[in-house]
Amino acid sequence: MTSDSIDIINAFALLTNFVILPALSYGSQLALGALAVTLVYSVLRFSNFAQGDSMAFGTMIVILLSGFMIGRGWTISGIPTALLVIPIAIVFTSIYLLTMDRLVYRHYRKIKAKSITIVMSSIGVMFVTGGIVRIILGASPQRFADGERFIFSVREFKAYTGLEQGIALKTSQFLTVTIAILLVTFIFYFLQKTKTGKAMRAYSDNKELALLSGINPDKVVQITWLLVAGLTTIAGTLYGLDKGFAPQQYHLLLLPIFASVIVGGIGSPIGAIAGAFLVAFSEVFLTYAYKKFLIYLLPLSMHPSSLVQLIGTEYKYAISFVILVIVLLIKPTGLFKGKVIVDE
């Protein structure tokens, strides 16, 4: 191909490889985290600042278990070992979250504390959890993905299609999107169709009425934490498989997750997912350098000399914040009208 011709197919192959696929998987990871925050918010009535660090905790368990499995040679070729140990890790994370609930949050529920007090205690939990993770695994970044890295690589794609610009599908991307779809379907089915799910929604809509109709509040709270543990561990593991594990990174994930939840309408599960993809796509679209993309699309005389990057990569967390601020200014209830919790 000569560089002075306009080449739309290659341009979009480039965009798919570097923008759309990464944003899709990042969005799915955020969506799972945001769903966990939404569940805690709807049922337990506080914004859980410990979410990011809980994700780090779940991932830590996965890393420890998969390290053990790999050491013993108990692996299945082609599949990341981390996936195999997720169920056991969820059990551990559930135990941890339920313990925290018993030790910290239950007291405030009992005395009907203001929600801001519970938020503050969740910050205490955030630091304790973050500390535990850093003591056990250290603060430095690490990778724990094993097995096949690609479903199909750039070279295979090029050989197959004959395009100059290749698309690679990473195993982690494929797994993220697939698992996220399955998990979200399960959560929605659970909330809409099962008896326990209905009890949770009733409890979330009107606590007093739910108690009157014989719903056991302790059970609802426990089920919520179990679901949160599942979402948290899976979201954390998928993010780690995709981008590597670093406690500080997970801690900062709190920002895009909160942005997703508020953008979608706090307390609304559909909104949380929509918000997550909005945040993820804006983040990736705005920090991508469009130089090569424009070279494909524009005639030679108009080729850009700079990177054509709208916002520096170092400010990617600022993007979720800016989205948050814009939504708060224009439509504070979010895209899907969420609920507002009033202190009792």
């Binding site: 506080f46 914004s47 600042f49 030790l103 910290v104 007291h107 203001k114 929600s115 801001i116 007090t117 938020v119 503050m120 205690s121 910050i123 205490g124 939990v125 955030m126 630091f127 304790v128 973050g130 500390g131 535990i132 850093r134 003591i135 250290g138 603060a139 900062l252 709190l254 920002l255 909160f258 942005a259 508020i262 706090i266 700079s306 709208l310 520096g312 170092e314 400010y315 967390y317 600022a318 979720s320 914040f321 948050l324 601020v325 708060l328 200014l329 504070p332 507002v340 919790i341």
Partner: protein, 457 residues
Amino acid sequence: MSSLNNFWQSYKAITSYALMSLVLLFVGLNQSWALALGIINMSLISAVMALGVNIQWGYAGLFNVGIMGFAALGGASVVLISQQPVTEAIEAGGIKMLLALALGAATIAAGVLLNRRGANRWLILVIVVIGYIFTRYYFSEASSLIEKVDPAISGYLGGFGIPIMFSWIVGGLAAACAAWWIGKITLSLRSDYLAIATLGISEIIIYVIKNEDWLVRGVKNVYGLQRPVPYEVDMQKSEWLQNIIAWIHRSELQILSHSEQIDKLSDYVREASVVFVELCYSGLFLLILVAFIVLSNLALNSPWGRKVRAIRDNEVAASAMGKDIKRQHLQIFVLGSAIVGVAGALLVTYDGIFISTAYQPLRYTFLIWVMVIVGGSGNNLGSVLGAFIMWFIWIQSGPMGLWAVEMFGNYVQEGNSSLEFIEDRVHYLRLVFMGTILLLIMRFSPGGILPEKNKEL
């Protein structure tokens, strides 16, 4: 036993302050006075910061998770006010940078104005996007020009070269502006939006400070800041200090030979000069702290303070009485953040160096919160006490953790890799430790050590 308890109840404040002083006295006598004064100075600065947070949380129940960001704004303004301007860098890219910033400001202003006039939303969007692209283009050109000027030493524009004391005021103002903006957006919404938004803004402030090298040198740090107090070297040359030291140690010096006398005296003078400089800082910080305490106590006992407490204790009733709650909260949020900004500026002044990587939520946001909660939220004297206690624990917990590891290490062989491993990780214990203290106090003694007196229970 019950009489002891009664005594504690009625003289709580005095007793706890006396105990704290005894502990510091012990450090001074046993370790060194310079160390004790260093702890006191850091405690004083933390106390100012805790006071700002207490005004927000204790007076109005506003939860600020972004203390670090406001402190960093204060710190950055010290650099921007007190450092000498770098003329080469200003010649290279100063004008361009100014133009880029003006273009950015004009874009925002145009967007806001058109929005108020009710212009077409898409038109506004197009104007803002085009404005942004041009701003960014000029901006990156200017910043790379500035950063190329002698990057090992400067590579930034420098400051205004004004005496450093002014930067404390500017730091407060900068923090107040950021707080006003954040408060304006979030205070009329749910209570935890403020917490989320402050978390966000403080992370962004840190990212800007770390990445915009042309502004405050990014992660390359700014050394050798001005000092509001004399230098140790100058003090050692001053005759009056030498005379005082000679007089204090006269009995000891008399028995020595002449040459020994001189050696011994210069040792003492060196030590004394450090103590003197620390004392100067202590006086300065104490003055500021007392001024803030007096002002905020006066304010709290005025009609304004009664209104503030009324709003905190029962928002609905207060708003039924015609009090403007949102306005009141905004006022308090701005005031508290301004005080945090001043404390951030004091901290960098005291350190004499601006380190952008030092701004970590654990120390600036979380430690300050623990101080306020431990001391007693709503009580200014409580926050000050909390600052002293927690800073002392914080500073001693590092060596204590290492000491514990070394004790443990005596049982394990030297150079054992697991020992290094533990030493590497042990300081993360602080995270767990601080978090646990916060949770325990909130759970079992929500009033803290010195609970607020005016609070309706």
